[in-house]
């Protein structure tokens, strides 16, 4: 399983094998939400999530 350091707390965040482009992955240590970004070859990296918008919610 691919993993990446959390940009906030440096914990290892595992990127699930079956992750989908755009999926939110949460740092197990600090709770920071990051987004899976896949390139054309399918390689995944974690990037910052888009800023919360005013009409977002449940």
């Amino acid at each position: 399983m691919n993993s990446q350091k959390c940009p906030d707390c440096s914990a290892d965040i595992k990127i699930p094998e079956d992750s989908i482009d755009g999926e939110i992955v949460i740092c197990p240590d600090c709770g920071l939400e990051l987004q899976v970004k896949k390139d054309q070859s399918g390689k995944a990296e974690l990037v910052q999530v888009a800023k919360e918008r005013e009409d977002w919610g449940e």
Binding site: I20, G22, E23, I24, E52, W56, G57, E58
Partner: protein, 279 residues
């Protein structure tokens, strides 16, 4: 399933679909465009679509488009429009005589101050559209109320629809009861985090399992029935007069509720959607 972001909730739904061997097609709302006049063309959508957009405006508009093409969307655009607007939801609750906090609406600072005299202090100011406790402000007295209201005068006009509500004297928690179809399937207590009065889990609120009492079940089902068959997170508070409903969520989040309650909420949501496909 329509989505804006694949949050843990959507991941749980995808995993549940896999376990149940249900074909779950994913549609990214941000990548979708539709001809509004092609009302007789369902393609490429399935007969039933689970609407999981995190954006209220996207959700309502896209759902209406899909419904015009004969797609059965869970939840419907009517449900999303009503529950996504606190005033419209309050009006429906009031008509059905469901207990809800004293609420007034005003459209200027001066009239809001007058309305607050009737609602009483402390009160709460809420945007009519908004979630996760965003811009929900306690109004403790006329001075602080005026300061907060005057601030809102400089914001987008939506925030000048002043929805003011009595602040219910409650424990430092509220209750969310999950309703799927005609069943109240799970409930949680949401505890406000330290140095915070709002209980939203998006603000760090802590979750604990809550036993569904008869009163809770009756009230949650009656509330869901007001808006129509669907999937809801019915929020209620424990007041000295009994339970009172303060919000009805139409795209409820459940990432923390599944481990807390042990209830397979995503699985039950999919079972409900599959029943709709078969109807």
């Amino acid at each position: 399933m329509l989505y804006d972001q694949l949050r843990p909730e959507e991941r749980l739904l995808i995993d549940a679909a896999r376990k149940k061997s249900i074909k779950l097609q994913l549609y990214d709302a941000g990548q979708t465009y539709l001809n509004a006049l092609e009302v007789d063309c369902r393609e490429p959508f399935e007969a039933v679509v689970l609407q999981r957009s995190v954006s209220f405006f996207r959700s309502v508009h896209l759902t209406a488009l899909l419904e015009s093409r004969g797609v059965n969307v869970i939840n419907s655009s009517r449900i999303a429009s009503m529950c996504g607007n606190k005033l419209l939801a309050t009006l429906e609750l009031a008509k059905a005589k469901i207990p809800t906090p004293r609420t007034a609406i005003a459209f200027s600072v001066e009239s809001a101050i007058k309305a607050l005299l009737e609602v009483g202090y402390p009160a709460v100011l809420k945007p009519v559209i908004g979630s996760w406790g965003r811009l929900v402000a306690p109004l403790k007295d006329p001075e602080s109320a005026r300061a907060i209201l005057e601030d809102r005068e400089n914001m987008f006009p939506l925030y000048q629809v002043y929805y003011v509500q009595e602040m219910i004297q409650r424990p430092s928690r509220d209750i969310r009861c999950f309703v799927i179809g005609d069943s109240a399937v799970a409930a949680i207590y949401r505890y406000a985090p330290a140095d915070e009065w709002r209980t939203n889990t998006a603000r760090g609120g802590r979750v604990e399992s809550c036993k569904i009492t008869q009163e809770m079940e009756d009230l949650a089902l009656k509330t869901a029935n007001v808006f129509g068959e669907g999937i809801y997170g019915v929020d209620m508070m424990e007041s000295d007069k009994g339970l009172t409903i303060h919000e009805v969520n139409y795209t409820t989040e459940f990432r923390n509720s599944v481990p807390a309650t042990g209830i397979d909420i995503p699985g039950l949501i999919l079972d409900f959607a599959v029943r709709k496909v078969r109807k």
